[in-house]
Each structure stands twice: as C-alpha cells, then as structure tokens.
C-alpha cells in the first residue's frame, strides 16, 4: 500500500509509536497468556495461569481457592488514585484561579513556578519527602520546636504519606489544564452573573464550574492515570504495608519472576482505565456539545 503524500508526514510518528507503544503493549498482551519460566521470562505455551492467579490462590494442598487479595489491591489503588484526583481538583482549582486572575506578566511567572518541580527527577523529589516526613525530619522537628507535639508523629510509611506523595507529584497536571480554561474564559460572564442577582458562590457553581469542566476533566484524566499506575510513591513513602498496582506489577517482573502474571495484571488495569476513560470521553463530548 502506498501512502498519500500528507500521510507520509506521519511516518516518524508511526515508527516511534509502533516500536515503543504498540510492540510492548502487544508483547504484554501475549505474555499474559503464556506460562511463567521459573527464573523469569516465559515459556511459549498457552496458559490462563496469569489470569487465574489473579482470582485464585492455591491453598496448602495446592487446590486453587478464590481470593480477593489482588482485587483488594486494585480497589485500594483505584481508591487512592480517586482520592488523589479529588484532592488535586480542590487544591488545583483555587491555585489555577489565583494564577488566572494575576496580571498577564505575573501569570507567565506562575506557570514557570508550577513547572519547576519537573526540572528535578521524581525519585529525588520523592526522597526529599522522606527527609521531611520521617520521625526526625523537618515536619516533626518544627512541630516539636513549636511545642505542638510531645512525641514525633508517624508521618511516613502510611497511606497519608503515599497520598501526599501522589498529590504532590501530579498536582501540576491538574493546575495547568484548569488554568488554560480559566485563562480563556470570558470574565464578563461572571459580571453578567452577578448582575443577574447571583452571589459569589452561585456564580462559581452555575457559571464558572460548568465553563471550567473541560479543564477539570482533562486534569482529572492526567492525574488519575499516572496515579493509578504509580509505584514510586507507594514504594518509597508507603513502606512495606502500602501496596499499589504499580508495585504489584513491578514485583512480578523482578522479585517474583512471574512475567505472565505481571502482564495479566497490566492488561486488567489497562482495561479498567480504558473503560473509565471512555466514560469520561463520552461525558466530555457532551460538555463540548453543550458549550458549542
């Protein structure tokens, strides 16, 4: 098949996406239906084993029993990602609002400030949180010196720390899309709303939020997807107790050496996220229609 001239422009894109996106994804899908080799890798033989492991755990006598352990990890990961997304909306919206209401010159400065964390590797930034949160860390030292606490608070190695780490990592992805919609918003609509007897709260609810919904949805997608697959925050800030999907998958490929199982979890997660995205996309299209 020969490509029409304009389509040739897409060739570099197809090569990159084919090599680094479709190929690994396909491999993952194939691996999830293979048998695990004892020391990592796969045996090229069809098997449902990877998916079975997900729902059934062999008991002492080796008989598979239905087990919700892994489902719980999925559930808690989704829960953590949802909480992260919601917190990001509540922190990101006022921040974006503040930014968008500054004079134009200051706004550019704020955008730079919001993106500054990306200049440093996430691993290092997450490690910095350990230094802040640990028992003799910055937070406890300040609270102790201020006389607010007698004994150090356990801030690290719990769900709080993981959530904090996730919110911290992905907050800019929420702020920037909301900022983009706010910056484009017609501020005279707010004046019109106030002129038509709406107070500040009702203007926010009836006018500003509906007009910002595309930005909030875009931000939510950008936060939720990496958050659900994140393993760094859980690994470093959650200790051994906090297991997220990302950690579970990572563990299958490295310490457990069960590649098909790891691949199967990835496929299940991907399916779940895709389904969620389709729902959002449908809603998003509805909003776009509404704003037309």
């Amino acid at each position: 098949m020969t490509l029409a001239r304009p389509h040739k422009l897409l060739l570099p894109f197809f090569i990159i996406m084919g090599l680094f996106f479709v190929l690994p994804l396909g491999l993952g899908l194939i691996y999830s239906f293979l048998k695990a080799a004892p020391y990592g890798g796969v045996i090229w033989e069809f098997s449902w084993e990877g998916y079975k492991r997900f729902f059934f755990v062999p008991d002492l006598s080796g008989v598979p029993v239905f087990d919700t352990g892994y489902l719980e990890i999925i559930f808690s990961s989704v829960k953590l990602a949802v909480i992260t997304t919601i917190l990001c909306v509540f922190i990101g919206f006022p921040t974006a609002w503040y930014m968008a209401t500054r004079p134009p010159k200051q706004r550019d400065l704020w955008i730079v400030l919001v993106t500054i964390p990306f200049w440093t590797n996430l691993l290092i930034r997450t490690y910095a949180w350990i230094l802040i949160l640990r028992n003799d860390g910055l937070a406890n030292t300040i609270l102790g010196k201020a006389g607010l606490i007698d004994a150090p608070l356990q801030l690290l190695y719990n769900e709080f720390a993981v959530t904090l780490g996730l919110v911290y990592s992905y907050l800019p992805f929420m702020i920037l899309p909301i900022y983009a919609t706010l910056e484009r918003m017609d501020w005279r609509l707010i004046e019109a709303s106030e002129d038509l007897y709406a107070n500040k709260a009702r203007t926010l609810w009836h006018i500003i939020l509906p007009l910002c919904l595309p930005g909030i949805l875009a931000g939510s997608v950008l936060v939720f997807i990496p958050a659900i697959g994140s393993f760094l925050a859980a690994d470093m800030l959650g200790g051994s107790k906090q297991m997220m999907l990302g950690n579970l998958i990572e563990r299958q490929f490295f310490s457990s050496r069960n590649w098909p199982f790891g691949a199967a979890i990835s496929v299940v997660v991907m399916g779940t996220v895709l389904f969620g995205l389709m729902l959002i996309a449908k809603r998003g299209q509805g909003i776009k229609d509404a704003l037309r």
Partner: protein
C-alpha cells in the same frame, strides 16, 4: 416626574500603573422615572465607567448613588435591582436561551412555574418563541442581542443599563433594534440608561442626553437642545457636523466665533429673508451622500466650511458662491 436614579458627586479613580486616572470626575446627575436616558461621548469619556458604577461592577471612589431614594453605593451588583445588557451580550454559552433568560429570576428564588411563564412571555416579546431550547452560539448577532435584552428585562429591574448594546450590529439591524428598544421601553415603563458613542442613535432614541467629556457632563438636555443649542464647542463638534467661523464673516463681531449646522445653510439664495446672514466663498469640493450633498466652501478668510442645503443647486467646483444662514440657527457657545 420623580427621580429614579440620583448620582451625587461621584468620582471614580483608577489607580493605574503610575498616574491615577479619573474616569468619572465629581459627576452629579438625576435620571427620571420611565426615562430613556443616554450617556453619549467619545471613547474614554467615562460613560461606560459611570454605567458600571450604577450596576455595581465598579466601586465609587467618592460620592453616592441613590436608587428610588435608597443609597445603593455600597451594595454588590447582585443586590441592586438593576440589570445590564452588556456590549458583547455576555450570554452564558452552556445554557439554553430559556435558561439564560430565566437565570435572574432563578437566582432571585422565584418558583419554577413563575419562571417558566415569565420566560415564555419574554420570548414572545422579543419574537423568538421558537428558539428557547437553542444555545446562544446557534443564534445570529441580532437574536443574541434580543436574548440579552430579554434576560435583563424579564427581571423587571428599576433601571435597565445598556452598554453600547447596538454597536456590534450592522446598520440595518441596528436601526431595527433602535425601534425595538424604544417600543420595549414604552411597553415596560422601565427606566433605560443607554450608553453610546453614536450621536445618531442618541438623538433618535433619547428623552434626554448627557454628553460626557473627560469624566464630566459637558451638557445635559433633550436631543433638540443638545443639537441646536450646544453648550460648548466640544458638544457642537461631537453631535453632528458644525462649522465654526469668525463672526466677521457674517458681518458680526470679529471677537467671537459663531457656528452653524451644514443643513441650516442655503446656497446662492436670492430670496433670503431679513435677518439671514450672508457670506461668500469659493466652492472647492462636492461630495454626494445620497440623501444629501455636501459642499465644501473655502471662505475669503481661508476658513473651510461644509454646507448641506436641503435644495442643492447645480454647481461646479471652483465657482464663487453666496450662502446664507438664518440668524436663529446660529450657534454661539463657549469655545
């Protein structure tokens, strides 16, 4: 007629970068009940700022604003029984036309049935009964304009503020909307405060006009007073074309300039009445405007005037002509 809106020595200063700007400067004004009142002036004269002060969208620096005797100076916009038709209409893009119109009543906490009836009536008034379920983006400019008008009027405000509301429409539509606005104002009996820089619009629609200049009122009066007895040269120049020449041209005192409107002049008038003032000049240009023809005359003093007589004789450029102006049409005002 009683005063509906009283503006008492209101000043609005914008603290811009280095030099503060007085957009409205110690301005006082009484607007009567059921009046079609126009704030007319060039851009930057403070007319829109004054309108926004009345709406509550800007805070006064000093002075008071009274509405039916109540001091509303410190009330936020949502607590003033005043509605605005914005220059760009500012219709809510995510709501239907009906939701837009009903928004004010909804915020006032009126029952749904009452809102539905009011919205239906309002749609009928603006002759858009069929379009209640459309989104503003699907309407033409003129239709959006009418929706914006209905959205404000449906609340029966004490005062309706219109901010250059017709300037975005094309000529024909603007003429239609002018008539429509007048009709709505008569039917509803609401006091209209209309901001415009278009003198034609102001003259044809207003009961009274305030011509604004540099944050102050240059002249307040009926359209006839403003047009025929302008209080200053600025007003005379801003409202229509006005020729100002040295009085000596007409055999009057040379120490004072006098003005006259182009259409008050008569060309080569042999049967001029006593009291008409005559002058001579050389015809330099003829420009045809359809309804009128403008004759550019250079006087012996070198001054140039424009004449637009009701009856235009056949003339060729570069001919010497005589023209006359009735004495009672002469404009004598402060420079």
């Amino acid at each position: 007629m009683s005063d509906c809106l009283v503006i008492e020595s209101v000043t609005k200063t914008f603290a811009h970068t280095d030099a503060p700007v007085k957009a409205v400067d110690d301005l006082s004004l009484n607007i009567r009940e059921n009046e079609f009142f126009t704030l007319l002036g060039p851009s930057g004269c403070g007319k829109t700022t004054l309108l926004r002060l009345i709406a509550g969208l800007e805070k006064t620096s000093t002075g008071r604003i009274l509405l039916s005797g109540d001091d509303i100076t410190s009330l936020p916009p949502n607590r003033r029984p005043v509605n605005t038709v914005f220059q760009n209409y500012a219709l809510f893009p995510h709501m239907t036309v009906a939701e837009n119109i009903g928004f004010g009543l909804k915020m006032l906490g009126r029952p749904d049935t009452e809102i539905a009836t009011a919205v239906t009536d309002a749609l009928k008034t603006i002759r858009l009964e069929q379009l209640g379920t459309r989104k503003p983006g699907e309407l033409s400019g003129g239709q959006q304009q009418r929706v914006a008008l209905a959205r404000a009027l449906v609340n029966r405000p004490r005062v309706l503020l219109l901010d250059e509301s017709l300037s975005a429409l094309d000529y024909k539509l603007r003429k239609d909307m002018q008539i429509e606005l007048k009709r709505l104002q008569r039917e509803t009996g609401v006091t209209f405060v209309f901001v415009t820089h278009d003198q034609d619009e102001a003259l044809s629609m207003s009961d009274r006009i305030a011509v604004m200049h540099k944050g102050r009122i240059a002249q307040l009066g009926t359209p006839q007073e403003i047009y025929h007895q302008p209080a200053s040269r600025f007003v005379a120049d801003f409202i229509g074309i006005c020729n100002f020449v040295n009085g000596g041209i007409f055999g009057l005192s040379e120490t004072q300039d006098v003005g006259f409107r182009p259409e008050d002049a008569q060309l080569n008038n042999r049967t001029h009445k006593d009291g008409d003032l005559q002058a001579h000049g050389r015809l330099t240009h003829i420009t045809y405007h359809g309804a009128t023809t403008h004759f550019q005359i250079t006087l012996s003093s070198g001054e140039k005037v424009t004449l637009a007589p009701h009856t235009a004789p056949d003339l060729t450029p570069d001919s010497e002509i005589t023209f006359s102006v009735p004495a009672d049409r002469l404009i004598r005002c402060a420079p």
